[in-house]
Every structure is written in structure tokens, then in C-alpha cells.
């Protein structure tokens, strides 16, 4: 017994020495050794709590020390530590209880080793009353794009306050941003359970369900969140509208109804845009001014916009933000401004028009303009491209989007350009950016490719791909994603969807690969990329062309379904745009059988480079001419 006691004393001394040296991990490891020998070793659990508190994780510390107290309820040191920890996170009642309890208990034989000399005891613990900062740190990390850190902080907060709704939602969103959609779903379900009548978690859950390919349930969630949303100026509701274009064709009319219902109910009438004078300044309102999907389309345009003022709404800053800052005529940080101040600043600048690129969760804005000046608000791109952005007066369109734009905007409100967009390849200089040999030549069989974004892989998409596979015997399809990791629910869902068409044995999922900005590994291993429907690809379509991979797309019934066609039109490959499903299959089959597919692959990058798609100056000139003609005609 004495030997065991001596051993414990030595171990506690060693743990204290490591703590004093700042070797917290070493101290924790030593505690684990003690627990391995005796899982009921309360002093070891207590010391783990002390170390966890030093690491800043008070929630974890509490759980260790509470366990120690349960095992050995008669010693003073455990409630003393619990009193201190409770006070440090603002749990005053608990702190009071434990502090009182500590005063009536006997000291542990190793008391000096268990309680640091400077630990407040008795009523002194109340000099140390603080609130947990994990939630604030989590939010800051999330907005800075440091999702792993956000997860760590949110989890620390939840260990202290397991019922904290905001931490649960933030934890889920961080996982979602990292592609852990199934984990995100679990946290959001817990959050909706805590506060069933709060719109945020319901809507985020809708987004996650979309990412898992569960479109029907996602629509229900998005509609529910719109119904729960009472604030007419709510960004949450507006963002729910952004998600509706992801919906399947079957659900799309219902989602449009939901959008219209919400607009009629909540959106305040916006005053008519006024044209005071010809002002060539273009305002750009942007909530994602950092690395993201729109950057490759926006930066080349900004190179040629000589009079652009960028109103940055997001807090996150990275190299892209700095690039935009250096290229814009003026760059205004507006993230922290209230709506009235933002409106007034824009009105003060009096831009000839305001292009609203907003498309994000909580940072998007849709100005109302209360003063004399109301600039025309113009909608252009988004992910997914919305049909009609809240508050948009006009839309930039092209032949590819004309059919959709005609439905939602008056003819004179469509700025029709020869091409919808322009694009620049996000070169990183890695060797893999060279165009690879045609896989068909190596394997003798055609490999179609597809992007594994479950928001876009609907039953219609799978049906179309299955038709292509049936039309091209021996061909297979390789579905890729950014990391090559496939969460089980997604892999199972994809398998099931293809199994319904009897082609599951010809479907492969891309394996783990070097993560790069562009999925170069996928493009090196496929012959033809099959686009999705009813929402088409955007960056991936342009990137595939750059990598020598032909793309087959189907023009859709919504603006988000026309982007693939717009890119191919601009790249001079309108012949790869299908108007119907049959066309789509025929084009894919033709390309698969094309004898000159290797020549197409070898020459595609040069032809894309020389095409209108990469002619940012031509795009801006056409845009400028259209803009001036608009501004010269008073509305």
C-alpha cells in the first residue's frame, strides 16, 4: 500500500514538474499512464482536469474533476477545483456550492500536489469570475476561414454549455465547410431539437441535406425556414432563396412559389432606380471577396474595369482580397456597417450601377436606399446563379440565359452581352497543369468524368449519365471530388442512384489524390466531362476545357442551369451544348467515338485561350458599351 502511495506521490510530482515546465501534453500523457494502471485513480483525473484547464479547455477540465469527485467524494481538493473552474466560466451557483462543500471536507493526503499554490480557494474563487470565450473565438475563426480551429473552439464551448444553440450551429457549419456533411447534419439535428422554432438551424440543415443529395427534404427545410422567418430584412431568409435553384426540376416550381410567397410577404417594396446623370463608376457589392468560385470570373473583369468601387461585405481577408483591393479604383470595407450607413456610402459614391454579387450566408446585403439616390442594382453571377436576386432591377445576360431572363425581367432590364462571362485559369504552376494524354488511348475505353457535388447530382442527372453509359458500351464514369474522400452516406447514395439504372458497375469514385485548386487528377483521367442538370457546373466546366477535356452540358430551365452553356458558348464550343436529353446523350456518344478526340484534347487549351471566354477586355468593352447606352436612356 505504501509503495503504491509512494508511486502516486512520485507521479503527481512528475506531473506538476511537467506542468511547471509548460509541457502540458507530457503531463496529460503521464496522467493517462496512471489511469491505465487504475481507471478509478481520482488524483489522476483531477490532474487531467488541471492540465485541461491550463490548455484553456475548462469544459473538459470540469468533466475530469467531476469524475474524480464522484470517485472520491470525501476529499476537499476536488470540489475546490470545481469551484474555481465553475467560477471561471460564469457558473456562479455551482461555484458557490462547491466552494462551500470544500470548506467542510478533509484535505487529501497529497493536497499540496493536487492544488497549485496560487489556486484561489474559498471566497477567493469569486475574484476569478469570467465567461467562456470559446464561442467568440470559434466565430472569429469561422469567419476567417479557419474551420478546424472553429471546430475545436466550438467543441470546447459545448463541453461547457452543451445546450448552446449557436455553438452547435457553428460547429455544424464548420464541418460543412470542410465537407463533413454527415457530421454537420448530426449537429444541426441536435440544434433544431434544442430550438425547433428558430430558422437558422433548419435552413442550414437544408443546405447540408442538399450537399448529401437529399433534395426533397432540403426543400422542406428551406420552406420551413422561410415560414419561420419573420424579419422582413432577414439575410437568413434571403439566403434560403439562394439555395432554391439547386432544386430538382420536379421541385423547382414549388421552390419558386416559396420564393414568391416570401417576397410578397416580407420584402419591402424597393423604390425605383433613378438615373441622375451619366456616371461611369460601377459599384460592386460583394460578400465573398476572398478565394472562392467567383474569383476566376471576376478578377479578369476587374483588370479592365477602370472605375470600379468594390464594397467588401465579408470579414475574411486573404490574398484574393488584397488583389481585389489593389485592382479596384476604390475599395471600401463595409462588413461592419449597418444598412443605412452602407446605403448612404453607396449613394455618396453615386455609381452608375451597382452590381450585386452577394450570394452568401450572413454577409449578403440587398440595399434599399432611403435617400434621393437609388442606383440601378444589377444581377450577374452567383453560386448557384439566382434567377432573380432580391432587389435586382436589371440582369446581365447573354443568349445562353435569354430564355430565363425574359421570364423574370422586362426586356429593357436585360443587359444582353455577346457572352455572359469571362474567365482566367487559376494557374498554380504545378506540373500537373499540363494537358495529359487522352486516357482512351491508354485504356482503349472511354472514361467519362463527372463532378461529385451532390447538390447538383439529382435523379435527372443520374438518369442522363446512365443513358450516356448505355449509349456508349464499355465506357465508364469516374466521379471526382476535391479530396477523393467519400463519406459513407454519399457513396451509398450515389451507388443507390446508379443502381436504379442498372449501371452501378460502370461507376467509379475518384480515390484520394493530391488536393489542388483545380481537380487536376480527375481531368487527367477522363476523356469527356458530363455536366449536371438542372444546375450546371461553373468553374469545373471552364477548368475541364482548359485541361483539354470536352464538356457536354444540357441547357436548363433556370439561370443556374445555363451557366455551363454560357461558358461553352463563350469558348466557341456551342456544339457541345444540348437542348434536350437526347441531344446530350448524342453529343456525349459522338465525342466518345470521335477519332480526333486526342487532337481536340491537344488543341482545346489554345482554342479556349483565344476564345471570347478568356477575352476579358472584349467582355468589359461590350459591357461598357451596353452600360453607357443604358445610362444615356433615362428610365
Amino acid at each position: 500500500m505504501d509503495a503504491r502511495q509512494d508511486s502516486l506521490t512520485d507521479s503527481l510530482k512528475e506531473i506538476n514538474r511537467r506542468v511547471a515546465d509548460g509541457d502540458l501534453k507530457g503531463a496529460m500523457d503521464h496522467c493517462s499512464l496512471l489511469l491505465r494502471d487504475d481507471p478509478q485513480c481520482a488524483p489522476a483525473l483531477h490532474m487531467m482536469g488541471l492540465v485541461a484547464a491550463r490548455m484553456g479547455d475548462q469544459g473538459l477540465a470540469l468533466s475530469f474533476v467531476e469524475r474524480a469527485h464522484q470517485i472520491e467524494p470525501d476529499w476537499r481538493e476536488y470540489p475546490a477545483m470545481l469551484a474555481y473552474l465553475s467560477a471561471s466560466i460564469g457558473r456562479i451557483t455551482d461555484a458557490l456550492y462547491y466552494a462551500k462543500l470544500a470548506t467542510v471536507l478533509a484535505p487529501h493526503p497529497e493536497s499540496e500536489l493536487l492544488i497549485p499554490a496560487n489556486l484561489p480557494m474559498g471566497r477567493d474563487v469569486f475574484d476569478n469570475v469570467e465567461l467562456s470565450t470559446h464561442w467568440l473565438l470559434a466565430e472569429a475563426a469561422f469567419h476567417a476561414g479557419r474551420y478546424a480551429e472553429a471546430i475545436q473552439e466550438a467543441e470546447s464551448e459545448l463541453r461547457i454549455n452543451p445546450q448552446q444553440y449557436n455553438s452547435l450551429v457553428l460547429l455544424a457549419r464548420s464541418h460543412q465547410a470542410l465537407g463533413h456533411h454527415d457530421i454537420a447534419r448530426g449537429h444541426l439535428l441536435a440544434a433544431t431539437g434544442l430550438q425547433p422554432n428558430t430558422a437558422a438551424a433548419v435552413r442550414w440543415l437544408g443546405d447540408v441535406l442538399l450537399s448529401l443529395g437529399e433534395h426533397d427534404q432540403a426543400l422542406v427545410n428551406h420552406r420551413t425556414s422561410l415560414a419561420l422567418e419573420s424579419d422582413s430584412d432577414s439575410i437568413i431568409a434571403a439566403h434560403a432563396l439562394f439555395q432554391l435553384p439547386w432544386q430538382t426540376s420536379a421541385n423547382y416550381s414549388a421552390s419558386r412559389e416559396a420564393a414568391t410567397e416570401w417576397r410578397d410577404r416580407a420584402a419591402p417594396p424597393r423604390r425605383r432606380a433613378t438615373f441622375h446623370e451619366v456616371n461611369p463608376i460601377i459599384g460592386i457589392l460583394w460578400d465573398q471577396c476572398h478565394s472562392g468560385p467567383l474569383v476566376d470570373f471576376f478578377l479578369p473583369v476587374l483588370d479592365h474595369f477602370k472605375t470600379a468601387i468594390v464594397y467588401r461585405l465579408n470579414r475574411r481577408t486573404d490574398a484574393t482580397t488584397e488583389l481585389v483591393r489593389s485592382k479596384a479604383m476604390r475599395f471600401q470595407d463595409c462588413a461592419d456597417l449597418d444598412a443605412a450607413t452602407l446605403d448612404r456610402i453607396i449613394a455618396g459614391d453615386a455609381p452608375g450601377m451597382l452590381i450585386n454579387l452577394c450570394n452568401s450566408a450572413e454577409e449578403a446585403r440587398f440595399p434599399q436606399f432611403g435617400g434621393d439616390f437609388v442606383p440601378p442594382i444589377v444581377q450577374w453571377l452567383g453560386v448557384p446563379a439566382p434567377d432573380r436576386l432580391p432587389g435586382a432591377d436589371m440582369v446581365i445576360g447573354s443568349a445562353a440565359t435569354a430564355a430565363v431572363d425574359r421570364i423574370l425581367f422586362d426586356a429593357d432590364k436585360v443587359i444582353a452581352l455577346p457572352q455572359l462571362l469571362t474567365w482566367r485559369f487559376p494557374a498554380t504552376g504545378v506540373e500537373a497543369e499540363t494537358v495529359k494524354p487522352l486516357p482512351r488511348d491508354l485504356s482503349g475505353q472511354v472514361t467519362f468524368g463527372a463532378i461529385g457535388d451532390m447538390r447538383r447530382i439529382t435523379a435527372e442527372t443520374v438518369a442522363l449519365w446512365a443513358s450516356v453509359l448505355r449509349a456508349v458500351p464499355d465506357a465508364s464514369i469516374l466521379i471526382g471530388n476535391a479530396s477523393g474522400a467519400w463519406p459513407q452516406p454519399i457513396a451509398e447514395r450515389l451507388g443507390q442512384m446508379f443502381a436504379n439504372f442498372g449501371v452501378v458497375n460502370r461507376v467509379r469514385l475518384q480515390g484520394p489524390h493530391e488536393p489542388t485548386t483545380v481537380n487536376l487528377d480527375l481531368f487527367g483521367r477522363i476523356d469527356v466531362l458530363l455536366d449536371t442538370t438542372p444546375v450546371t457546373g461553373m468553374n469545373d466546366v471552364a477548368e475541364a476545357l482548359w485541361m483539354g477535356v470536352p464538356v457536354v452540358t444540357l441547357r436548363g430551365d433556370r439561370r443556374a442551369g445555363c451557366i455551363g452553356a454560357a461558358i461553352l458558348d463563350a469558348a466557341g464550343r456551342g456544339d457541345w451544348v444540348a437542348a434536350t436529353g437526347e441531344d446530350y446523350v448524342a453529343i456525349a456518344a459522338r465525342l466518345a467515338a470521335a477519332a480526333d478526340l486526342d487532337a481536340i484534347r491537344a488543341g482545346l487549351r489554345d482554342s479556349v485561350s483565344a476564345s471570347a471566354l478568356c477575352d476579358a477586355k472584349g467582355f468589359v468593352d461590350a459591357f461598357g458599351a451596353a452600360l453607357m447606352s443604358r445610362l444615356l436612356v433615362p428610365s
Binding site: E322, S326, K327, R330, Q332, D336, L337, D338, A339, A340, T341, R344, I345, I346, A347, G348, D349, A350, A427, G429
Partner: protein, 679 residues
Amino acid sequence: MTVVAVESDMRAENMAAFERFLPAYAELLREYVPQTRLVENLDGSCDVEFRGQCLYDTAGDGTTGPDLARRMIDELKTSPRGRIFATPFGSSSLDQTTSVYITQLLKQGVDDGVTFLRVPNGHEAYHLIVMGMGLGYHLAEALKFCEPFSICIVEPNLDFLYHSLSTFDWVSLLERRKEWPWSVSLLQSDNAAEMSERMRGHCRNANPSAVDSTLTIASYPNDIMSAAQKTFAKDAHLIHSGLGFFSDELEMVRASYFNLVAADNFRVFKHSPGTRAGLPAFIVGSGPSLDQDIEFVKANQDRAVIISCGSALGALMTNGIRPDFQVQLENGEAARDMLVSMAKKYDYSGICLIGSNTVSPQTRALFGEGVYFMRQALTSYAMFSPGVEYSLSNAGPTVTNTGLEIALRSGFTEIYLLGCDLGARSPDHHHSRFSPYHMANRTAEYDAAVTFIQKFPVRELGNFGGIVFTNEIMTWSRQSMEECIRGNAATGARVFNCSDGLRIKGARPQVADGIRIAALQRPKAEIVAELIERWPEASAFGFNEKWHATDWRGAMRRYADQLIEVCESNPDRSHAFLHQMGLLMIPDHYRPAHFEEYCLRGTLFMAVIATDYYCRRVHPPEKRGMFQQLAYAGIAETIQTMLDQADWFFDHIDEIHTNVALKDALVSWTPDKIPSPTV
């Protein structure tokens, strides 16, 4: 091209030089892993290669860095590109002392057949600003070309700095710092605003009198560097703004003497680090946009401390708003007269004066409570300041930025700027319509009307978008505010700019209508009284003893002898003269400036700037030596004149206080018209 081995003797020697002179950069470079490669051209010069693209040989036609550098210098020989040329001082911007000196000098020069060119007749530049170090080829050529005394290098890309260790002789360059730290400074940043501010700061610290002919070169094209270069050129005038002048310094010593030495009914402002005021502060200026926000101030006057700045007092009192504090900055009688005339109509009781130690001594009597802050970088500061914590580093040029610093230094963490326009939306509409500036036709009810003579020729970005008209003093005031906000960032204070004027970095634009301020939990008067009681009473400082214990005149005389010695050494190069004078006038890099340095240097800076301006434009060039000699002799004479004036001032300080004619004479003092105290 071949890849260059990174390890070399040159690199090791350069690293050793960095470790000695710029250790922070040495640490950065030691661990740095570049993304690019250093490659060697056929001619032995180097280039930096990244993904097949070269820094210098952008077109792949074999162009090298040295080729480009030589080409740049050839262009600079015949082009003013990259130069900052100062405009000559007009008589309105010179004080009496400098004006007399420069008029005599020019007259003598012209009589001797000298004419003056529009631009200097040489390629020298005192300050060389190198935008982008690259591999150092451009810097090497520029050093030979313009023979600078101070070099400021900014490089956005650490890769280039890293590679330059293998291509450029940093050792020789950095060893210049042995003599003088401002000979070479280095900044690695990819932020255009930071670059331009640091470049300006370098020039101001090195020698503000040497802006004329400053050369900025860019070693390679870069958007961020271009933006920084433009901002630097636009704001170059700020480098030599606010240097002061001699008679003004004496006048402020006089005011301080009567405020601090001859009185005892005041407190001394002291910073309150770590304390929280517990309520918001409104900093109220009398800019035109105050008219829009006056109702907001009225509605919230019981929920925030109101700090009125200068003439805003009239606008507030006219609207029935009694501020808690009135900030006064300027010495001289105009500011006091305005307060005196307004006092005939309005009662200032309950308002606490927070004034500079240099405000007119009659100001204090108008207010119930009085607090003085020490205004830095003035003669009176060196004479009386009990410590930096009793001073404001950004007091001036306007009372508005002073008000902001007072709030930030007093523990306010929620600060709203109202009517702090620093300009106007319309160049013709200055100040609030309630301010004394617009009372000219309402003298029957209020006789404090004053005239505003400043113009707003400069256009700057507005706080609420668009363009605002302003001038150099206001942009300088803005710079002070920005520095102040940045310098107090650690306090967590948030500054909201509700004024429809200049955009102020660090102050968030905020429409006043959207602000909701919570009601206070206890009477505001109690909180204000606590704030005032934090500041110590005058009796704790012993100003009187300090005044009488120091030999002010002797210190000034000894200093003047050193300056005259430089003039008599008659340096060949005008920039050498600037440099030697600069070393004596700006000791700040190794110790705080003394009373005598503050007192003489403002006017001397002006004289030296004007001297250098004309000396380097003398035509024909062979007359330059003669003209320089005349100039240096003139400056020595000017120094002697100032000494005489200082003697006269110390002899008659008590009489100047009560004799208006003597006070006026202080400004227009000339050795041949020494005023008599009996006047």
C-alpha cells in the same frame, strides 16, 4: 539560365550584416523558404524565376536586371519621373525671421546675376525611395545616380529580399546605419497604405527639410507599389508640415508660463490606461454635417459625454446643448476672443475646459474647472512636461483630432465623431450654420462672428462615399486621428465617424440615425466628476521651481554655436549642409529633443528648406558656390537674431503679458526695431 546555388560567401556576409543592423529581418530571412528560384543569366547577372516566368526577362528576350536598371537611370536623366519637387515657400507660409532672411538672400543673389531654374540642376536626391528591392540592380544604379543620404527600401515580396542576399552588397549599404539609423530603412509589406505611410515616416524622421527632389524608383512593375507610390507623392507635403516657427514657440512659452507657472487653479491631464469611462463620448466638431446630426446630439446628451472641440461650443450652446468638456488647442487670442464673446450670451458653468498648456492664459477664467494637457513637440513641452503620460502626441493641427485623443486617452471605448468633417461636401460650405463662422449677419444676438479664411482645394474620399473638399491642414488632422486610433487600438476602443466629411481610417462610418445608446445607470454629472478627479492637481508638479531652476538662455546659446559652426564650415553640397543641420536639429532617434532644439528648429527648418530649394536651382551653375556661401552666412545671422530675440523675450516675459504692443512685437521682431517695454 542556370539555377544559382543559394549558399555563398556573399550571402553569409549579407546575413551577418542583417543580423547586426536589422536583426528582425535576419530572423525572418534565416527561416524563409522561397517560392521562386534564383537563376543566372549568360552574362553572369541573375534573375528570379517562377513557373517559367522571370522577374526581369518577362518577354523571354534575354533582358537582364542590370539592363533594365541602366535603362531606368538613362530615362531618369532626362525625365522628372519619380521625383517629388517641392513648391517654393510663399511669403504667407514663412515667418517673419525666415522671410527677412530669404528676401535678403534672393535680392543679393539676383544682384549678383543669379537666376533660378524651375527644377534643380543636378540629379542628387537626399531621400531615395526604392519600391521593390528585386535583386538590387536598380538600387545599385540609383545610389550612383542620386547619391542619397537616406534610403528607404520597401519590398512586398520576401522572396526577392531573400534572393538579393546572393546578388547585392548589403554589407556596404547596411554599414551606413552605423553612423545614422535613418541612412537605410527597410520595410517588407504588401499593403499599399502601410508602405506609403512608412515611406513618409522615414523621410520625416530622417530629415523633413529634404523633401525636394526626393527620388522614388520601382525596380519592377507591381500594382501595390504603384498605389503606394501615388499616395506617397500625393501626401509628400505632410513630411514637412507643422514644424513650427520661432516666434510662435516663444509665444507658446509665454502662454505656458502664465498658465502653469503663474497660476495654480487647474489640473493636469493624465492618460488613464486600463480604465473604462463607462459611457460613450461624442466628439463634436463644427463641420457642416453637424447640422444634420445636432438633433441626435440633443436627444442623447444625457447618455454620452459631450466633448466640444473649439468653435463647436457655439453650435452646441445655440441648440441648448451644454457640453461636458470644451477642448481648446490654439494659442493666440482669436480662440479666446471667440469664447469671451460667446460667454456674453451663454453660461459656461458646469463645463470643464481641457486646454493645451499653450492656450491663451485668459481662457481658464471662463470655465469652472480647468485641465491642461501638455502639447508634445513644442518648446514648452520640453520645458514643463512632467512626463509623456501628461501629454497628447497627436494634439494638432486641429482641435478636432485633439478631442479624439483626449477621449481615447481617458478610457472612452465607444466614441462618436459628429461634425468632425475635416472639409466639406461643397467647397463653398464650411462649418455648421450654428457655428460662430456663420454669425456675421447675426451680431445683434451674438457677436462672436469669426471669419474662416481657409480654402478647400483638395479632393478626398468621403466618409459616406463620394468626394469631399478639404485642404492640407485637414488631411494632416485626419492623419493625426488615424495615428491616434491606431496607436490606441489595444484599448479596444471603437470609433464611429458620423460626420459627412473625410473618410478616417480606423473610424467606422456610421449614420447617426442608426445609433441607439442605452440610458445611463446613474447621473452623468457623477461620472464626469469622477473623470475630472482622476487628473492630478497642479500643486503636484512644481512648475514654478522648474522655471526658475533652469538656465534656458545658456542652453540656447550653446546650441546655437553648434549650428553656426555648421554654417561656417560652408559645405560644398547643399544636401551635405541639410544633413549636418538635420543631425543637430533632429536628435530624436537617440534622445528626446531639448528645449533649445524645439525652439529654434521650426524656423531653421524653413530657412534650410528654402536655402536648399534655391541653391540647387542656381543658374548659371558656376555661381552656385557663391550663392551657397551667402545663404549659409545668412542662416548664421538668422540664428544670431533668434538668440537676441530670445534674450529680449526672457527679459520681458512678464511685461509682454500685460502689454499688447509688446506681444505683437514678439511676432514681428527684428533686430533693428527692438521694442521698448515702455511702448
